[in-house]
Symmetry: C2
Subunit: 252 residues, 2 copies
């Protein structure tokens, strides 16, 4: 399993990914799923991946080293815009499907790869895209400023409630980490260490690119504070006032 989240706010972009992979519950490993493609002053691009690890690695390899299609040879270091970057990843996904999809299906393995692409190139706008297994994609908007891939449900409630386009960039990072914490608590398939990147809008370079492991004091503190705050929050809500049976007892 995997959990990755991208949050695009007024001031910038946050991307966070866990590193746990598993082939069955008895084969658990750590692999980087957040990849940076950065030339400070010119482009800052990050890609996070979920789904079949071999397919995801093949896609990242193709867009790192370049591959030839009808439009020539491109990499995430050469594409002229974020839209072109999303198209490139989409074509890479389709190429990997063409190569490995049929034989995966023959082994009853579903071809399943999802990617988040975030960043800014040249004079273009800061963007966040989600690319599907079919190679098509959507982009985050001011209405829906975050996108998730992988095990997205456990960490969604806090984002639904708290993330807006005008949320402060470091609050967005904090909320992304809370969302990651909720996911890790409920699904063992999502685990530490966590990779993250933060960039400011129009900076054309990353502000933070960092890995957090379980000994990192801020994240430990955040987990504890959040837990304590939730306990306090539900204790502060008054006891339900319901009494007695307001319903007929029949089953219908």
């Amino acid at each position: 399993m995997t959990y990755c989240v991208g949050i695009l706010v007024k001031d910038g972009l946050v991307m966070i990914a866990d590193t746990r992979t598993n082939a069955g519950l008895d084969n658990i490993s750590t692999f980087r799923k957040l990849h940076m493609f950065e030339v400070p002053g010119e482009r800052v691009v990050a890609v996070a991946s979920a789904g079949n690890l071999a397919a995801a690695q093949a896609v990242v390899q193709l867009v790192s080293e370049g591959f030839e299609d009808e439009t020539g040879v491109h990499t995430l270091y050469t594409v002229p815009s974020m839209f072109a970057a999303a198209q490139l990843i989409g074509r890479a996904v389709q190429q990997v499907f063409k190569t490995d999809g049929p034989s995966m299906e023959a082994m009853n393995a579903r071809f399943d790869v999802m990617l988040l692409l975030g960043g800014q190139i040249g004079n273009g706008r800061l963007r966040l895209f989600q690319i599907y297994s079919a190679g098509n994609f959507i982009k985050a908007s001011t209405d829906t400023p975050y996108l998730q891939i992988g095990e997205h449900k456990y960490g969604k409630p806090i984002l639904d409630r708290a993330v807006r386009f005008d949320t402060d960039l470091y609050d967005a990072l904090k909320l992304g980490l809370i969302s990651m914490d909720s996911t890790m608590r409920s699904n063992l398939g999502v685990g530490m260490p966590i990779d993250m990147m933060v960039c400011n809008r129009d900076a054309l370079k990353s502000e933070i690119v960092q890995r957090i492991d379980h000994t990192e004091p801020y994240f430990q503190g955040l987990r504890q504070s959040w837990s304590d705050a939730l306990s306090q929050a539900h204790r502060a809500i008054p006891r339900p006032p319901y009494t007695g049976n307001s319903e007929a007892q029949s089953t219908d």
Copy 2:
């Protein structure tokens, strides 16, 4: 979609179910999914269902009116123990599968029905069971005092963090309602009104059997307080201290 949760604590049992059903996004209805089988002083039994509505209704019908199998004719009003009640529901599920499963599969509809069964009968213990589509079942324990069926992920983090076997009964109700609220916010397929039942251990009667709709003031207040408390909680966590790039910029 559906969300039902049962919480079995030291002092009693809480069961909560939503009422929304949908056959596609364009066909949404309200159906009761929490059914009471109560003879005060003798037995208090509640059944909540998720999955295919026709199958769930058929199962509830069978265990209400009785059906004949190798052990005779029984209903939830006649079985001598909660274990026998779980077995009865399991056999009812298997019977419905035998009747409708093959033709459902011919229509490409998966036979999918899950039930929660909670309550206490006579001198037996207060129990909470989850019955699967195959008719087999598990029971809640002091280690894992809650069970969920349907859209369980959004509402699980709060239960994972806060529900223990020694949680106060009315706190368990509150936490169940918070869990339901989180689910309804993130999945439109789960919706008001909500049915709930609470019974005290060894009372052999329900304490509360009630339906809550969107105008009900306590639940409205709980939703608002919880939202406010979460906002406050994440604002109270200090800003992440991360700065700079602690990682090489390469993709591998």
